[in-house]
């Protein structure tokens, strides 16, 4: 599994659990238009931390928060590579 597949899998799983209709996933998808709300993102971030061992949202001096799904995946790829 790559970071990308882990992230995409969590998006789909959480959307399904939370009864949210997920927009088609592409790197250009704006997160706020993905159909997920803040509770969904909180759960995704917690589960990715368990899976990957990193929480880039909590790391100090990070770059800007991700806006698109592509940003989000790179956010995790960069943190995981550290």
């Amino acid at each position: 599994m790559t970071v990308r597949t882990d992230v995409l899998a969590e998006f789909q799983k959480v959307a399904q659990e939370q009864g949210k209709k997920l927009a088609p996933l592409s790197d250009g998808l704006v997160l706020l238009e993905s159909g997920l709300d803040s509770l969904c993102f909180a759960i995704i971030v917690a589960r990715l931390e368990d899976r990957l061992g990193v929480d880039p949202f909590n790391a100090s001096a990070q770059a800007d928060f991700p806006v698109t799904l592509g940003d989000f995946i790179r956010f995790y790829e960069n943190a995981a590579a550290r």
């Binding site: 803040s38 509770l39 993102f41 909180a42 759960i43 917690a46 589960r47 368990d50 909590n58």
Partner: protein, 442 residues
């Protein structure tokens, strides 16, 4: 009779002798810390000290030794009664007393009560340093006078330490009602205690819901045939009440609201969790009950009078009410405890009481016990997560599918922000010395 694991004591033995080795007279008028690990010996010493000492501080067996200097200083104690094994802070020799099984003492001691002794109980503060709560024999025995025993003399038993409020109630009931009491010993397994209580024919048995969940895991739980089963000290949810009803169909099943500070407030005997809403605003026996700003508040002669210590906060408000800090929610004609005021988890501005979520998780047939806690989230501030202990017959299946199943179970019954984001299956949960689930980051 007091039945301990190692011996039984006839309380009549105190008429002929003393467990304080002839030094009882020296304790007259003193402030005494009673730090005897053995419950039976502590009970005997306590009976001797009431009416003699100015103040008695009851230390349960598990008070960490590093807290003793704080307890001694706060109680302004000038005597410590121990069993001679505990590591004690350095004190003058004439302040140290050792309790031993009663022996006939040479010097007769005047047994007539000479003063009203303050009974001081320890309760765990939020920081873990014990708070000292002042009661009297009168405040402690008030709840007992209002519920006389019927039928043959009871044989009491309890999972509590009798130095804590819940256990002390059992001890005093046994002493005043003429019954006997089966005491647990430090380190005694629940199963072994239940076997002993069964062999002696225990009729009345008391503990916290957490004690009972532990007891129900022991096959020995079906060896006792109690007439009376009582829960207090934590929220009694419907699942634990149903389990106990199922296990003891003929027993009186009562859950009571009681706390060290507020005393016993009321009892619920209909086998349902929560309590009738019309209790709020009412006066039941000598207890005024109200709910204000969501929390249960009580005023009665059963409450403690104050905390000890120079900078101690007031225990009662200006009107004499004790704020229990236990949050109550009314649903229809019933009120339910939803958790502690301080224990709230805030998920994106939505408040969640862990106990409410635990009650739902615990109602899943394969769950024995659960602890809901907060996990920090950079998105919502916090998330709800759960540690779950499964029933012994569960766990054979796939844990991931069971995790999904428990989450579905929660989703069907709770708003989505209250559903645990992750579930960890754990072999056991930590239970505090007072028999309640340990809530660390609550």
């Amino acid at each position: 009779m007091l039945h301990a694991a190692h011996a039984s004591f006839d309380l009549g033995s105190l008429e002929r002798g003393s467990c304080l080795d002839g030094r009882l007279a020296e304790l007259r008028g003193r402030s005494v810390v009673l730090a005897v690990a053995d419950q039976a010996l502590a009970a005997l010493a306590l009976i001797e000290l009431d009416g003699l000492a100015r103040r008695v501080v009851l230390c349960p067996a598990d008070v960490p030794p590093e807290h003793l200097p704080h307890v001694i200083a706060t109680a302004e104690a000038d005597a410590v009664v121990s069993d001679g094994t505990a590591a004690l802070p350095s004190l003058p020799t004439d302040a140290l007393f050792v309790a031993k099984p009663p022996k006939t003492s040479a010097a007769e001691v005047e047994r007539q009560p000479q003063r009203t002794t303050e009974w001081v109980l320890l309760t765990s503060g939020t920081t873990g340093v014990p708070k000292l709560v002042v009661h009297s024999l009168d405040s402690l025995t008030r709840p007992i006078a209002s519920s006389p025993a019927r039928g043959p003399l009871p044989l009491w038993s309890t999972f509590y330490d009798i130095r804590r409020y819940g256990g002390l109630q059992v001890f005093l009931r046994a002493m005043l009602g003429g019954g006997s009491l089966v005491l647990s010993s430090a380190g005694e397994a629940v199963g072994a205690y239940l076997e002993r209580a069964a062999a002696l024919g225990a009729t009345h048995i008391l503990g916290t819901p957490t004690h009972w969940r532990g007891a129900l895991m022991s096959p020995s739980v079906r060896r006792i045939q109690p007439r009376y089963v009582r829960l207090s000290g934590e929220i009694a949810d419907q699942v634990i009440l149903d389990h106990l009803r199922d296990c003891y169909p003929d027993a009186g099943l009562v859950h009571a609201f009681a706390s060290t500070e507020a005393g016993v407030a009321f009892e619920v005997a209909d086998g349902k969790s929560g309590f009738p809403a019309d209790l709020t605003g009412a006066r039941i026996a000598d207890v005024d009950i109200k709910v204000e700003q969501g929390s249960l508040r009580l005023r009665s002669p059963r409450t403690a009078s104050r905390y000890l210590g120079a900078n101690a906060e007031p225990l009662r408000d200006a009107d004499g009410f004790v704020d229990t800090g236990d949050m109550v929610e009314q649903r229809g004609e019933r009120c339910y405890f939803v958790g502690r005021r301080g224990g709230i988890i805030n998920v994106g501005g939505q408040k969640i009481h862990p106990e409410e979520v635990e009650a739902v998780i615990n109602s899943h047939p394969q769950v024995r016990l659960s602890l809901v806690r907060a996990r920090k989230s950079p998105i919502t501030g916090a998330l709800v997560i759960a540690d779950v202990v499964l029933c012994s017959d569960a766990g054979a299946g796939d844990s991931r599918s069971l995790e999904q199943e428990i989450k579905e179970h929660c989703r069907a019954r709770l708003p989505r922000h209250k559903v645990p984001a992750t579930i960890n299956f754990v072999p056991a949960l930590e239970v505090s010395a007072s028999g309640k689930l340990e809530r660390r980051n609550a």
